[in-house]
Symmetry: C2
Subunit: 202 residues, 2 copies
Amino acid sequence: MTSDRLHDQIRFILEVDKLKGIVRRTYLADGTRRENSAEHSWHVAAMAVVLAEHANEPVDADRVVRMLLVHDVVEVDAGDTFVYDTAGAESKAERERRAADRLFGLLPGDQGGDLRALWEEFEAARTADARFAAALDRLMPVLHNIHTGGRAWRENGVTADMVIGRNSRMAEGSRALWEYARALIDRAVASGALAPAPGTGG
Amino acid sequence: MTSDRLHDQIRFILEVDKLKGIVRRTYLADGTRRENSAEHSWHVAAMAVVLAEHANEPVDADRVVRMLLVHDVVEVDAGDTFVYDTAGAESKAERERRAADRLFGLLPGDQGGDLRALWEEFEAARTADARFAAALDRLMPVLHNIHTGGRAWRENGVTADMVIGRNSRMAEGSRALWEYARALIDRAVASGALAPAPGTGG
C-alpha cells in the first residue's frame, strides 16, 4: 500500500521535472539567458518567505509558498503563456484545466485533490493568500526587466501602459509592493528602458 | 522604515537569482542538460510537500520546505561541491560559512538570522526536519541518475559502493525512501547503468 502510494508520488515528482524545460520570456537578472518555470517557481516561493510581511492582509506564508511551488506545474502540458499574449490567454484556461487533470491525477487521490485545490485557489485569486501569491508572481518579472534594462519588454513590444495595466492588480495583494514596483516602472520609462504608451509622445 | 526593509529584502531576492547559474553534476530526467541549483531547490521543496508522510518521525512539512528553499543559497558564492568530491568537501564548510555571512547578511537582521538558523539546521542534520530534508536532497540525484541511465555517475567515475555509502544516511530521515532508492540502485547495477564496487568482479 505504502509502496503503491510512493510509486505514484515519485511518478508525479519525475513528471514535473519537465517544468525545467519550460522557458519563460523573462531573462535572468544577469541577462545571460531566459529563465525557466521551475527556477522561477523556486524564486517566487523564496520571495514569499521573505516578503510575507508586506501583504495587505495577514497571510499564511507557508500556504503561499506551497501555492507558488505548484502554481506553474500545469505548464508541463500547457506551456508558458506570455502575460501580454491576449490570443494565447483565450485558450489558456482550457489547456491548463486539462493539464491539471492529468498532472495532479498522477498523485494519490487525497494529495492530488489538495494540490489541485491550491492551484485553483491561486488561479481564482480570491483569497488573501492567493492575491498575495499573485502579487509576487507579477513583481518578479518587473524586477527582472528592471535589472536587464527592460530587455523582455523591448523584445516583445511591451509599453508602459501595458506593464501598468497588467501589474496594478499587484496592489490587491500588496499595496506596498505595487508602490515599490510602480516607482521602478516610472524610473524605467524615464531612463528609456521601457517605452511610454503609444501616442503619449514620451 | 518599511521601505528600507523592503529595499534590503529585494536586494537579497535579486542576489540569490545567481543560484540559477550554479550548475550541478546531475542531468535533468530527460537528459538534455545538467540542472542548476535553483531549479533543484524548487524540485526538492515540491518533493517535501508530496513525500512528508514517509519521514521516520513526524516532521513539520512547511519547515522542511522553507529549509530546502534556502539549503543551497550559499552556492551563489561557494559554488556547488559535488557530493563525491572529497578534496572539495574539505574547504566546503568554510567557503559556505563565509557565503552565509554575506548572503543572509543582506536581509534585515531578524529575517537573516532566522533563515541562517534554518540553513545551519539543515547542514547539521540533527533534527527530524533536517534529517528528512537531507534525505530528499539525496534521493533526487539518485532518481535523476536512474532516469538518465546513470549518466552523471558514469561521467564522474562513481561506483555502487560510493552511491550506497553516500546515500545510506537517507535512512536516518526516511527508511521508506532509502528502501525505495536501494532497490533502484540494485537494479541500476544489474542493468549496467551503475558500475559495481571495484574488485567485486560484478
